[in-house]
């Protein structure tokens, strides 16, 4: 799907067949370039792949599509070099290679790989130039056929238990024992962790990475001894978020496979699969009375339903949602987004109450303090911000993380806030004055998720290093 505009300037989704039909009768149209500007989307998989292939089937000889969001800098460099090479008589694939080189030497180590060239022209020649440029500029290409469909991507091995480092303990009442337990078993990054309301069980959702994911499971572990109780299988892609219903009956899991699954968590029975999403689900949360809220990546719709029947209650437009959270009384909800803004809505009628605009990067995680007074947000701008919920005042900015803050969690007494970051650390901060209490080191890769047990004595963290670590907090 491409989102174009309708006459009123609102979003209008055009599928590749519709666009292709318009383009089909124009044989001089030889190339379509689909650009995804910075901030224009927040999807992890390649949303243009389908459109690009569709346009080729409708007769367009070649399509260049960005497989990830591309920065302005890289996109502009690409355009300049690419069109110059085309006008110089290069075959389209050689022109793309020239443009890649230009991005690479910017220098830019990653984005040269962002453009993908789809084509059906066997020789890469989209047109002949009537006036040929100098012969040395043109390069014929021979072809090799060989890459077949039966490719097997090797499984990644489970890393061995990593060396443990001791936590830095500041002189305060807080004591943290470096991971009491490491829960190992996931074969992919752990993206989300959640404690059951009674604190006995911890759920972890896994999957992802740039390679095909071989572990899209939710696992349930016993907190007391770290035993793996159950593996919930069913999602076809990365599980991005897990949440327990307050009555401890249902576990919800959101996934990049564009579904939310509701599991009866005691016996692992799949109760319901919510399939009305058109994009990857990034976040799920329960209200105190069992309403489920979920947000998706590229999409701008926040969906709510009641756990009992799975019927869609409301759609709220206007964000690229990431972290979603309910206030403790269930009356309001908040979501982070790709435009660096935190939005807060009234649940009863979906009215947008407040927009909090101080972050300088993608807001990835949100959490309300247990008393509902403070809303905390973690962002790619490396900070955690604490907001007074009643009027949206920014109370405090917690600085220290060296990379993105991916997850935030309040201790049940509201005294401490924990943050997990791409800098591989978990940090604990005192809410009252923003003081850094301690830095937990041990994870060997990005920390994606943090959660406090309901009694506040255990902190769990999930990481790209495929483990869940439990830390004793006193």
């Amino acid at each position: 799907m491409l989102v174009l505009e309708d006459k009123q300037g609102h979003g209008w989704c055009a599928d590749s067949r519709r666009i292709g039909t318009i383009l089909h009768d124009h044989p001089s149209l030889r190339l379509v370039v689909l650009n995804s500007c910075e901030g224009a989307r927040n999807s992890l998989t390649d949303p243009f792949a389908g459109v690009a292939a569709g346009l080729i089937r409708q007769g367009v000889p070649a399509v260049v599509a960005m497989q990830f969001e591309i920065t302005d800098e890289a996109a502009i460099t690409f355009a300049g070099e690419f069109y110059a090479a085309l006008a110089g008589g290069f075959p389209v694939d050689a022109a793309v290679a020239e443009a890649r080189k230009a991005i690479y030497i910017q220098p830019n180590d990653i984005e040269w790989g962002t453009p993908v060239l789809y084509m059906r022209s066997s020789d890469g020649v989209l047109f002949d130039l009537a006036q040929k440029p100098a012969a040395e500029e043109i390069m014929p290409l021979t072809q090799v056929h060989g890459v077949a469909g039966d490719v097997v991507v090797p499984y990644e091995t489970v890393p061995k238990a990593q060396q443990q480092k001791s936590a830095e303990i500041t002189p305060s009442r807080l004591q943290v024992t470096p991971h009491v337990r490491t829960l190992e078993g996931h074969k992919k990054a752990v993206n989300s962790v959640a404690f059951s309301p009674d604190g006995a069980i911890i759920a972890s959702g896994a999957g992802g990475g740039l390679l095909w994911s071989n572990d899209n499971t939710v696992r349930l572990w016993r907190v007391s001894d770290g035993a793996l109780l159950r593996t919930l299988e069913g999602h076809n892609k990365q599980v991005t978020d897990v949440a327990f219903s307050p009555d401890e009956v249902v576990l919800a899991s959101g996934s990049r496979d564009m579904t939310v699954r509701l599991w009866q968590f005691l016996d692992g029975v799949l109760l319901r699969t919510l399939k009305w999403y058109e994009e990857e689900v990034t976040s799920v949360a329960f209200s105190p009375d069992g309403v489920i809220i979920s947000a998706t990546s590229g999409e701008i719709i926040l969906r709510m339903c009641h756990v009992s029947d799975g019927a869609l209650l409301r759609k709220l437009r206007g964000l690229y949602g990431v972290g979603v959270a309910f206030s403790p009384d269930g009356a309001t909800m908040a979501a982070g987004s790709g435009d660096n803004i935190v939005r807060v809505w009234r649940v009863s009628d979906g009215k947008l109450l407040r927009t909090l605009k101080r972050h300088k990067g993608f807001v990835q995680s949100l959490v309300f303090s247990p008393d509902g007074v403070v809303l905390a947000s973690g962002s790619r701008d490396k900070t955690v911000r604490l907001w007074q919920f009643s009027d949206g005042t920014l109370l405090r900015t917690l600085e220290g993380h060296k990379k993105w803050v991916n997850s935030v969690a309040f201790s049940p007494d509201g005294v401490i806030i924990a943050s997990g970051s791409s800098d591989k650390t978990v940090r604990l901060w005192r809410v009252s004055d923003g003081k850094l209490l301690c830095k937990l080191e041990g994870h060997t890769k990005v920390v994606n998720s943090v959660a406090f047990s309901p009694d506040g004595k255990t902190l769990a963290s999930g990481s790209d290093d495929q483990t869940v670590r439990l830390w004793r907090v006193k």
């Binding site: 989102v3 174009l4 505009e5 006459k7 300037g9 609102h10 979003g11 055009a14 666009i19 318009i22 383009l23 044989p27 030889r30 901030g39 080729i56 007769g59 000889p61 502009i76 460099t77 355009a79 300049g80 069109y83 110059a84 006008a87 110089g88 694939d93 050689a94 793309v96 290679a97 080189k101 180590d109 790989g113 453009p115 060239l117 789809y118 059906r120 047109f127 002949d128 130039l129 006036q131 040395e136 043109i138 390069m139 290409l141 021979t142 072809q143 090799v144 060989g146 890459v147 077949a148 469909g149 490719v151 097997v152 991507v153 090797p154 740039l210 095909w212 206007g318 964000l319 790709g338």
Partner: protein
Amino acid sequence: MEAACELGGKLFEAVFGGDVRACLRSSLDEVYRKERTGLRLKLRLQEVPILSDLPWEFLMDATLDRFFAQSNQTPIVRYIEMPERIKPLTVNLPLHLLVMISSPSDYLRLDVERERSRLEETLEPLIKAGKVRVKWLENPTLTDLLRCL
């Protein structure tokens, strides 16, 4: 860069084993012996969506320490087989670009003006040299696209 190398190396190991690697090596040898030729790596992945989601552009020959897609001698393309042939077309410069920037009011807003001015700036030398001409579609609607073509 490390991540790109690791990923590219893994993709390469996964695909180019045994006979396939031998075939690649001998084809590359042939290409490098001749001047002004190249080897196009065509990936046919349409039938296997799980594979087409992978960023194959990062394919890296670890022994040569080189990304294929970074050289115009070894471009990587996603190939889609079609029964109809492409009719040959001879064009005179300038190449015509039609640019459409969609930024619906109910979605995250793009800085359309900035996008536009940066692209214009970049293409200015090509436009002045008479190699490229750019037309902007003012209203990014399907109707306007149809009219404009």
